[in-house]
Symmetry: C2
DNA sequence: TAGCGTCAAATTATATACAGTTCGTACGTG
DNA sequence: CACGTACGAACTGTATATAATTTGACGCTA
């Protein structure tokens, strides 16, 4: 049969070039997902041989995957002691949001200064359409949180790319990790989704109209709002349980 | 005679735990240095076997080192095609400074909010003493640029740690890379060193006095000044040579 | 001569064997 | 019984052999 013609698997989003079609890349994605989904709990020390058997690969590609994830900040490495799942303290999560406020604002500003590519504009518009549909209550209630999360990733990811600077995108990816690691904790109300959806629209308009200052300001307020909601949700779950 | 003890090796800065006493760590440091020093030029495609012979190690620790450096953003990886030294466009460098303005400002603000540890305060004071000595003209002229660079790393590094948040320090490390990769280009005048040294003093005072807003503001202006100088220096070297 | 398919050399990806370190445990000593 | 030491199992670090992929050159065809 056809051998070359390498495509991402049908129905799958495009891959990072790094994670295509090698055991290493496959393992990287699966382990990352396990961590973000909470299957691998924080502070767990990873046993290489055991993980090898789990994924049915040898230690070489496994270690490569672990190195990559350590580089992403998801794992912590200690010489002769291997890798450990990184734990994020509440402080760390709050501060990373503070960083994200600034970074997302910068990305929006740069995007507004430089304009959107056709592909970027289309991706954002797609996310806005889906957002409107969500807010209108046309999605199944069970999947609303996941749908909002997906929409959010598309919207912000498109803006990161549109900033035109890899470093900015990298920085935001790093700030994104503590957020995701706590994702399950926050449940959005319908009103919150409405507000955020409106912010997405306004930010998009500011970028389209080439108003960098306005785009940055709106984005900062948007992310600051998300931060506040997250901190409140986290505090509820994490504060000392001595006063039940 | 205030001197910090516990130095890993005489004259050597302390190591990341990741890079201690393994061939992988050693290779990581050496290759990183080669890249930052410009021995390995941008867009060079790295040949694993060749590098193995250069460093007298086998491919396993070498690949581990390359993966780590790719995670730091110094190398770019493509599946089945290996690693390439990353090149930073002028735009990328400018934007990473923009990010750094915000990140360094945040770090200073957080440090001011939370206060300095004894170790942190000592490190900063040490850098200030050395800065004053430098500005007073008591250092050999040939080594002034290197001395300023070292002082700078100590000062800002101490503040990054004092922010109390790993994510912030990671973000700034990522912004630091394009800067260093262009380090040789900028030559500081004595007056510029004086101005920057004064900024260091003022920022330190603001942090000590627990004035977060002031610390952030000063730090932003400080880094913005550095950015301006760098951009001017880079433009001189890089702009199209069609109008000599 | 331009385009295309094929093959071999070079290079990367993976598996696995072996070496070195860590860490828990059991034993000996005070 | 407390404490330190030594030993061994478990684990990570490294080397190297083998498999898969890329790359460039060569020759064939239209």
């Amino acid at each position: 049969m056809v051998r070359t013609l390498l495509q991402p698997k049908a129905g799958n989003e495009e891959w990072d070039s790094q994670e295509a079609e090698t055991l290493t890349g496959e393992a990287t994605r699966r382990i990352r997902q396990s961590i973000l989904d909470g299957e691998l709990e924080p502070n767990t020390r990873l046993n290489e041989v055991h993980l090898c058997e789990t994924f049915s690969i040898s230690r070489t590609p496994l270690r490569a995957a672990l190195q990559t994830l350590a580089g992403e900040g998801l794992l912590i490495y200690a010489a002769n002691r291997g890798f450990t799942v990184r734990a994020f303290e509440l402080t760390e999560i709050v501060d990373s949001y503070e960083m994200r406020v600034l970074g997302e604002g910068l990305a929006a500003r740069l995007a507004a200064e430089r304009g959107l590519s056709d592909a970027g504009r289309q991706r954002i518009e797609e996310s806005l359409v889906r957002g409107d549909r969500l807010v209108a209550g046309l999605s199944p209630i069970e999947s609303q949180q996941d749908e909002y999360s997906a929409i959010n990733d598309i919207f912000h990811g498109a803006i990161h790319r549109s900033s035109g600077t890899q470093v900015v995108a990298d920085v935001l990816a790093r700030c994104h990790i503590p957020r995701v690691s706590a994702r399950n904790i926050m449940v959005l109300t319908h009103d919150e989704m409405k507000i955020r959806n409106q912010f997405h629209h306004d930010i998009f308009d500011a970028i389209l109209c080439r108003e960098p200052q306005k785009a940055e300001d709106l984005m900062r307020r948007h992310v600051a709002g998300v931060k506040a909601a997250m901190v409140i949700a986290l505090s509820r779950r994490r504060t000392s349980p001595n006063k039940d």
